[in-house]
Amino acid sequence: MSVESRPGAGILFFGKPKVIPVIKFHQVHKAYKTEGRMIPALQPCDLEIPAGQIYGLIGHSGAGKSTLLRLINRLEEPSGGRIEVAGQEVTSLQAEGLRAFRRQVGMIFQHFNLLSSKTVAENVAMPLKLAGQMSSSAIADKVASLIKRVGLEEHANKYPAQLSGGQKQRVGIARALSTDPKILLCDEATSALDPQTTGQVLQLLAEINRDLGLTLVLITHEMDVIRRICDQVAVLDAGFIVEQGPVAEVFLHPQHPTTKRFVQEAEQIDEQELHADFAQVEGRILRLTFHGQTTYEPLLGRVAREAGVDFTILSGRIDRIREVPYGQLIVAFNGGELEQAMELLSASDVHLEVMR
């Protein structure tokens, strides 16, 4: 029995009740013209991104994720299809309407894209200055509070070149938030950062999502980023969305080969090593997946006692998907009542997959 098929699983484990989509794609596609030929970047796709969630798009370079993200604020023009964002038909917006719309959508970038000629405060103030709807003093107040929010009070008058990568991305985040957007697009926001800084930036993004109710759409090539902060994920491969759903479901039970590869990369699983391990043990080999509270229960010992089976743990990982704990163990069972053991595990909400 899988985790997601349990009644109430959505509320318990995926954090948020179902909400209206803030971004809708209807058969949107995009092809680039290169040397007279049309090269498809994104195949016709339908997508619904729920308001207030963190939606991850994962794919290798060239998979179309960057194109998909840029279609949302029309930095890329779609070749066809309809895009709706916050009730507005983005695809039909004209120049002035498009500019006003873009102010409701913040964006941060892998290489930060800060203006090197402007200070931190000037960079953060830029979208407000360009909009030209606020007085200088109102802008100054707002900029000060944004800089405080991202923890850069001491660096307001520095130039980007004087900051570390993590600090630069914080400036990028403050800048993107300055026009009070409803949506924040994150283009590989942590790919240029070291692991520790990545953690801090992801935490800041999760806080922004929680505190401001902002919808975040982020693209990445690291499953780990998806696991840590996303609610939903779509996997892209060669311009197709090959898999999508709640992160727990996709991460714990990947279906498509591309998704499986991403998960294996994140889990650092080596197929060959694993099969070499299999040769060393007897009996039935199962992959047990725990999600949520089950992770903390002393299940294996209890099942071993009740069904009289012995077990060997071959590989395992206990971690969290967003805030929710999960565990995935590969276990070889020997002797006793195997059927009973499997029933007991299933009854305790453990997902079973027979490996051998």
């Binding site: 930095l75 873009r102 102010r103 959508v105 970038f109 894209n113 203006l115 090197s116 000629s117 360009l130």
Partner: protein, 221 residues
């Protein structure tokens, strides 16, 4: 000392220096006024840029290249009728400035185009994502970001103009270079040659070091 510089007429040298400075200042000012927008236009309409216009860019690029490949001395003479139309005379400092501007503008515009291309494309994209108009992208992002490069381009152009002014003697504009040719070279007055060349050297040195300092001052990288 007096014996060494026997042919040097310091009054003449003073006048020539002033003429050189006038030609340089006047032509540099107009070169920047015309060259900067032209450079921006070349950049924007160039390949894979904001307003990519293949045909327009090709024509603009060709005109720029033709003007750049014309030897300045030829330009100076070919331009005489146009110069008369603009300044009323083809002689003196006023007669030299239009050809100097026409000669230096395409050169400066190309340097500006290159400086703008150095600006990270991501910055343009980020500014677009803020909902900026094209005008805002140019004035609030592109030009400030390319400022050190544009200052360096201005420095190189100014120094190029100094060497162009030496040829302006052909239309009687005077200047230090003209003095060096007429007295130093043609009359074998080595002392005049040395003094004028030294003065030109000092001028170039000053231009370069001021330019370099400004570049450092405005570079935040």
């Amino acid at each position: 000392m007096e014996a060494l510089l026997i042919n040097v007429d310091w009054y003449e040298i003073g006048i020539a220096t002033l003429e050189t400075l006038l030609m340089l200042g006047g032509s540099l000012l107009f070169t920047v006024i015309f060259g900067l927008p032209l450079g921006v236009l070349l950049f924007l309409t160039g390949p894979k840029q904001l307003f990519q216009q293949k045909g327009f860019y090709a024509i603009l690029s060709l005109i720029t290249n033709i003007l750049r490949s014309l030897p300045f001395i030829i330009l100076l003479i070919v331009m005489i009728p146009v110069t008369v139309m603009i300044t009323g005379t083809s002689l003196g400092v006023a007669g030299a400035i239009p050809p100097l501007v026409v000669g230096a503008t395409p050169f400066f515009a190309r340097l500006v185009e290159t400086a703008l291309r150095e600006v990270d494309r991501g910055i343009i994209e980020a500014t677009q994502a803020m909902g900026a108009t094209t005008k805002q992208i140019i004035f609030n992002a592109l030009l400030p970001e390319a400022r050190p490069g544009i200052i360096a381009a201005t420095t190189v152009t100014a120094i190029t103009l100094v060497s162009y002014t030496a040829m302006a003697g052909v239309v009687g504009a005077g200047g230090l270079g003209d003095l060096a040719i007429r007295f130093g070279y043609q009359r074998f007055q080595t002392d005049v040659m040395v003094v004028t060349v030294l003065l030109l050297l000092v001028l170039v040195q000053i231009l370069q070091s001021v330019g370099d300092r400004l570049v450092v001052h405005y570079s935040r990288k």
